[in-house]
Amino acid sequence: MEFNAPAGKNLFDTAKVVGKATPRIDGPLKTTGTAPYAYERHDVVAGQAYGWIVGSAIAKGRITSMDVEDARNAPGVIAVIAAPETKPVGTSQYNHAPLFGGNEIAHYHQAIACVVAETFEQACAAAHLIRTRYQRSDGDYDLAKAKPDAPLADGDKAPHTQGDFDAAYKAAPVTIDATYHTPDESHAMMEPHATIASWEGEKLTVWTSNQMIQWGKEALGKILGIDPENIRLDSPYIGGGFGGKLFIRADAVLAALASKAARRPVKIALQRPLMFNNTTHRPATIQRIRLGARSDGTITAIAHENWSGNITGTDGENGTAQTPKLYSGDNRMTANYIATLHLPEGNAMRAPGEAAGHLALEVAMDELADALKMCPVELRLRNDPAAQVPGNPKKRFSERNLARCLREGAERFGWSKRKGEPGQVSEGRWLIGMGVAAGYRGAPIRKSAARVRLEQDGMLVVETDMTDIGTGSYTIIAQTAAETMGMPLEKVRVELGDSRFPVSSGSGGQWGAASATAGVYAACVNLRRAVGEKLGFDGDSATFADGNVRAGDRNFALRDAGMLSADGKMTYGDFQKEYDLGTYAGHFCEVAVDRYTGESHIRRLLSVCDAGRILNPLSARSQVIGAMVMSAGAALMEELTVDARFGYFVNHDLAQYEVPVHADIPHQDVVFLDTLDPVMSPIKAKGVGELGICGPGAAVANAIYNATGVRVREYPITLDKYLDRLPQVA
């Protein structure tokens, strides 16, 4: 089914199941520990042996020798795979760093060996007996040092310009010019990357934890040099991904290689201390923003330059991503530069580009409001563009309600009580401040397929290789199928994450919910037609409700159709290219800063979101609050510390890489506007999982400024960065 014109009125506009707050159908499994994650699947294949990965002790150079003899002779050891004895595996379009094999070392904790043993304890102990010698070579690890020579990214020959930024900036009565730093960040999902691999002849099955089943299947074929059709991926439950599990990583590659060598199924989970350097991360950025405005707040000049680094000198963190979309301004310039750094691989992490970009742009807007002596909400409203995308006038917004998000948010949050002058409100030892930020994140949608099947027992089974990474896919897919087939939710069973199922959009880029449900809708439309054909009516015009079908004056029970199956796929026509499909939010934060110690506590957080139809307000809200938490972490504590001498992330475990804990997070409020986006899909829904990380951190930063009068432009905003600028005490 191709979606080639904006949707008109359809069954989702009178929905009974879609759009209703619905507890997750997988909830009873997850809360009782019975949802099976990759490493736990004892039942899928017998004789599983344990693998343990050894990571490189240097960041760059080569292995000069590796002694694996003691490891091979250690108790319980079945096989040892050593990089020097292994031809480098292939690469895929999704990977930047080499995954395994050969003597070359490209980054710290790159996998260099894998020990397989009868037990976990034996594998781990034997791995520690491997002795490796290296020749270290020089690398570049310091973004600030590499910045001056960094070329433009993405093959750009020149910055993107519109009008004459330099002249307009020079002429503007009010300007700001500020540079912001965001650090490298880690996904730090709770479930480590994990895989069980098993071969049967040429056929390989990996039970793994992966967001993108089809990408993974293709990539693993390329990496291992085998036909992807001989590979099965199965990933029904994923313990968090945030972009870190979009791609095949060392766990899957080494489980496959080790399983071949051991002639046994092998299971491997990346050890937590290895994950931070072995896998991917969000690259650090340096962002310079210049804004010029008239004294009424109208922005006339806007420039955003971004520098980041990556191991191959491509695909960094583009902080300018939202800038062409958020605010009007006739004279514009954006430029994205990328340096080659020999740190571990940078790759997608939740809202790649925008998450870091908002931490700069939305603070710059606060600085501009301050310079203008203007309310920062008003400043944003003043520069809210009309129908056309400011940085790309060929496109228009499909549906944009940012102004409503900001106005309604300000009203709910009690924004009018905020003092414009910073450092004016205190309660005892606490300095109190409020901050606001706007949020924009693209709403991509991708083709997606599914299979739906009516079973003998009256159940409807949905099969798609879509994944649920905590996003609530199981439930929204069940809701969509129940709605379309006119069945109660309890009669729908959803099977996900198996590459034997029709290929879906997968989970990433906040496209999953909108895309996968549209695909399920397409399959259900085909099933309705098949039911109609079997029982003799037109499936498209019939009404499916309460387990029955009404076609004209005839009534059927859906069960009368017996066992039937239909595949369907939703694809998208070119008409969407005229539009910018986006999601919007107004984020509000109140903080208290200890005037003595500089400790900052978040007191209140509110996000008002404009993201089309909300399929399941319960789980969508969770997506937003979770993203707000991650954004708060980015603002206040998260940082992979680079040791530029050794070229690695020093704080590579969950004690040292601090993410927010319960005590850091207050009650959170989320409001969804009742908006629909007919350009997206028949369901008119958009994703929210990344919208929530675009802006809240900036609202936190702005609130700290409002509380203290101190502006910190280097994230995370830890107290050591502003202690000396706090008011004197005793």
Binding site: P23, R24, D26, G27, P28, K30, T31, T32, G33, T34, P36, Y37, E40, H42, A57, I58, D70, A71, P75, T119, F120, E121, Q122, A125, A126, H128, L129, R131, Q135, R136, H187, A188, M189, M190, E191, P192, Y237, G239, G240, G241, A269, R272, P273, G470, G472, S622, I625, G626, A627, V629, M630, F646, L654, A655, V659, V661, H662, A663, I665, H667
Partner: protein, 209 residues
């Protein structure tokens, strides 16, 4: 020579693994270098109860309680998030007290009573805390969830027993299950999906009975 002035990453050849990284305090490097891998692995019998059932095992002394549950008893509801006591995903109750099962050896639990998430409730027979998590969407990916729930149940018990916390204002007064108390006490259970606000709602509902 002072490392303060002279330490640098200049030694181009690097040796790592085996003896090179061994624990100097436990075994001098020279001794470790000569150490051969043992031919056998020490194992020991141990017996304890898990969710009311007696189990008897012969385990490698190195096996943690967590791996005993997950790999030997196939009770995979208890999760391994970090294996170093830094995340709380492995939380279980031992003799009624919550602990990180990753930082405890199975052989140290002779005669103990262990309760895991599977012992609290089952999909068709949810514990009130499990039901509250479902109702309030107190999770997303679900991986930290069993640990969160074991902790949540324990936290309410700990408050009931009058055990103070970092945020308790009056150490000698009665203890109340306030939101701040619960948040502080739950902080040993990291949820990267950020379901904290919802978990707080779930716990409050159970606390208020």
């Amino acid at each position: 020579m002072s490392d303060r002035e002279n330490f640098s990453v200049s030694r181009r050849e690097v040796m790592a693994g085996g003896a090179a990284t061994a624990a100097a305090t436990a075994i001098p490097p020279a001794q470790a270098r000569a150490q051969q891998p043992p031919d056998t692995v020490p194992t020991m019998p141990v017996a304890f109860q898990v969710n009311g059932k007696q189990v008897k095992l012969d385990v490698d002394t190195r096996t943690t309680l967590l791996d005993t549950l997950r790999e030997h008893l196939k009770l995979t509801g208890t999760k391994k998030g970090c294996d170093h006591g830094q995340c709380g995903a492995c939380t279980v109750m031992v003799n009624g007290v919550r602990v990180n099962s990753c930082l405890s050896l199975a052989v140290m639990h002779e005669g103990d009573e262990v309760t895991t998430i599977e012992g609290l409730g089952q999909p068709d027979n949810l514990h009130p805390m499990q039901a509250a998590f479902v109702k309030h969407d107190g999770y997303q990916c679900g991986y930290c969830t069993p640990g969160q729930i074991c902790s949540a149940v324990s936290v309410l018990e700990e408050i009931g027993k009058g055990i103070p916390s970092h945020v308790t204002e009056d150490l000698t007064g009665p203890m109340r299950a306030t939101r701040d108390e619960m948040r502080e006490r739950m902080s040993g259970n990291i949820c990267r999906c950020g379901a904290y606000s919802n978990i707080s709602d779930a716990m409050s509902e159970v606390a208020e009975g």
